[in-house]
C-alpha cells in the first residue's frame, strides 16, 4: 500500500482549510472587527450624548425648582427686560416718574425705529453694537416742563425704574421771565430681549 495518497489528501485538506480560513478572515472577521470598532465609537458617542442630556435634564429640574422659588425675580426681570417693546409700560413708568417728581411731560415721541436703524448702521460699518448681543435698544424722546429739582428727581426715578431705562442725552432750557421753570428734552433708551 502506498503512503502518498494519504499524505496528499491531508495536505489538500489543510491547504483547503487555510484557504477557507483566509477567505473567512478577510470577508467575515475583518469587516466584523471594523464593525465592532465603529459600534464602540457609536456607543461612546451615544453614552456621551446620554450623559450630556442627563446633566441637562438634571439642570432643568434644578433650575425649575429655583425658578419656582424665585418667581418674583422672574417677574421683575420680565418687566426690566421684556421680550417685546411694551411701550405702554414705558409710558406708564414715565408718567409715574413725572408724578413723583412734580414734572409735567408735554410730549412723548417713540423713536425706536430710528434707534434700530442707527444700530444697524453701526453694525454694518463694523463699529460693533452699543448693546450686548440679543438686546435690542428702543427709545423715546420726551419734552418735560419742570424746575431743576423736579428734573433731578425725575432723572433719579428713571434711573431706578422697574423697566431698565437710560437717559442718553439731556437738553435743558430755562424759560424767559420764569426763573425757576425750565423745559427739558430727554432721549431715553430702554431695551428688549430679542429672544429667538
Amino acid at each position: 500500500m502506498s503512503s502518498r495518497p494519504l499524505v496528499n489528501t491531508a495536505y489538500l485538506i489543510l491547504v483547503g482549510e487555510v484557504l477557507v480560513a483566509a477567505i473567512i478572515v478577510f470577508t467575515v472577521f475583518v469587516p466584523s472587527v471594523k464593525n465592532i470598532q465603529a459600534d464602540r465609537l457609536a456607543l461612546s458617542e451615544t453614552n456621551a450624548e446620554l450623559a450630556e442630556r442627563t446633566r441637562f435634564l438634571e439642570s432643568i429640574d434644578r433650575k425649575r425648582v429655583a425658578l419656582d422659588q424665585n418667581q418674583t425675580d422672574e417677574q421683575l426681570l420680565a418687566v426690566a427686560l421684556p421680550v417685546d417693546d411694551d411701550i405702554d409700560t414705558v409710558t406708564r413708568l414715565l408718567y409715574q416718574a413725572a408724578q413723583t417728581s412734580g414734572a409735567t411731560i408735554n410730549t412723548i415721541l417713540n423713536n425706536s425705529s430710528q434707534i434700530e436703524r442707527t444700530e444697524t448702521t453701526r453694525q454694518v460699518q463694523g463699529e460693533g453694537s452699543s448693546v450686548p448681543a440679543q438686546i435690542q435698544p428702543l427709545g423715546v424722546e420726551i419734552k418735560l416742563s419742570s424746575n431743576y429739582q423736579q428734573l433731578r428727581v425725575f432723572l433719579e426715578e428713571i434711573e431706578k425704574s422697574a423697566r431698565l431705562m437710560d437717559v442718553t442725552s439731556l437738553a435743558i432750557k430755562s424759560l424767559e421771565n420764569q426763573p425757576d421753570a425750565l423745559e427739558a428734552d430727554l432721549d431715553i433708551h430702554f431695551y428688549k430681549y430679542a429672544h429667538e
Binding site: 502518498r4 465592532i36 441637562f56 440679543q134 431698565l164 429672544h195
Partner: protein, 196 residues
C-alpha cells in the same frame, strides 16, 4: 540479535500515517481557532449591539422627557438670557447724578444757567448762562477742569463766547446794570456715568 523485517516498506506507511495525523491535528486546531475567534467576535458584536440599543433607548426616553419639559427649558433659557443681558446693561447703566452734582458744586452761585445740552455718546456738554462777574466765571472754569491740584469730572472746559449785555428793569425799562452771557463747552468721559 538479528531482526527480520517481515513486511518490508511498512515503516514508510507508519511515518505517513503519523504525518497524516499531525496534519489533521493542525487542521482541527485551525478550525477550533477559527470557531473561537468567530465566537468572540460574535459575542462582542452582540454585546455592543445590546449596549447601543440600551443607550439609545435611554436617550430616547430622556429626549422625550426633555421634549415634555420644552416650555420649562424655554422659560429657563429666557430667564438666564435676560439675566446675562440685564447684568451687562447694568454695567453701562447711566446715572446723571455725578455730572449734575459736579456742575452744582463748581459753578458759582451767582451764575444762572439758561441752556444745558449734553449727550453720553460723545461726552460733550454745552452750557449757556449769565453771570455778573467775569472773574468768577474764569475761576469757575479753572476749577471745573480736571487738574493735578483738584479733581473734576471734566477733562476740558472751553469758553467759546462771552457777550456783555445790559440788565433792564422789567417795569421801567431802565438799565439797572450789566451782565455777561457765556457759552462754555466741556468734555467728560461718559464712562464715569456708567455702571454706578
Amino acid at each position: 540479535m538479528a531482526t527480520v523485517n517481515l513486511a518490508p516498506n511498512t515503516e514508510y506507511l507508519l511515518v505517513a500515517r503519523r504525518r497524516q495525523r499531525s496534519i489533521f491535528t493542525i487542521v482541527a486546531i485551525v478550525a477550533v481557532i477559527l470557531l473561537v475567534v468567530w465566537f468572540i467576535i460574535f459575542s462582542l458584536q452582540s454585546s455592543l449591539d445590546n449596549q447601543i440599543e440600551d443607550s439609545r433607548g435611554r436617550l430616547r426616553a430622556i429626549e422625550s422627557e426633555i421634549a415634555r419639559l420644552a416650555s420649562i427649558a424655554e422659560r429657563i433659557e429666557l430667564f438666564e438670557g435676560r439675566l446675562v443681558g440685564l447684568d451687562q446693561l447694568l454695567a453701562s447703566h447711566i446715572n446723571w447724578d455725578p455730572l449734575l452734582k459736579e456742575i452744582e458744586r463748581l459753578l458759582p452761585p451767582t451764575a444762572t444757567l439758561t441752556h444745558l445740552t449734553t449727550q453720553t455718546t460723545d461726552g460733550g456738554l454745552e452750557m449757556v448762562g449769565f453771570i455778573n462777574n467775569l472773574d468768577q466765571l474764569s475761576q469757575a472754569l479753572a476749577s471745573l477742569e480736571n487738574e493735578p491740584q483738584h479733581s473734576s469730572l471734566f477733562s476740558s472746559a472751553r469758553l467759546t463766547s462771552v457777550t456783555r449785555e445790559p440788565v433792564v428793569d422789567s417795569v421801567s425799562s431802565d438799565q439797572i446794570g450789566e451782565r455777561y452771557q457765556f457759552t462754555v463747552q466741556f468734555k467728560y468721559n461718559p464712562e464715569v456715568l456708567r455702571g454706578l
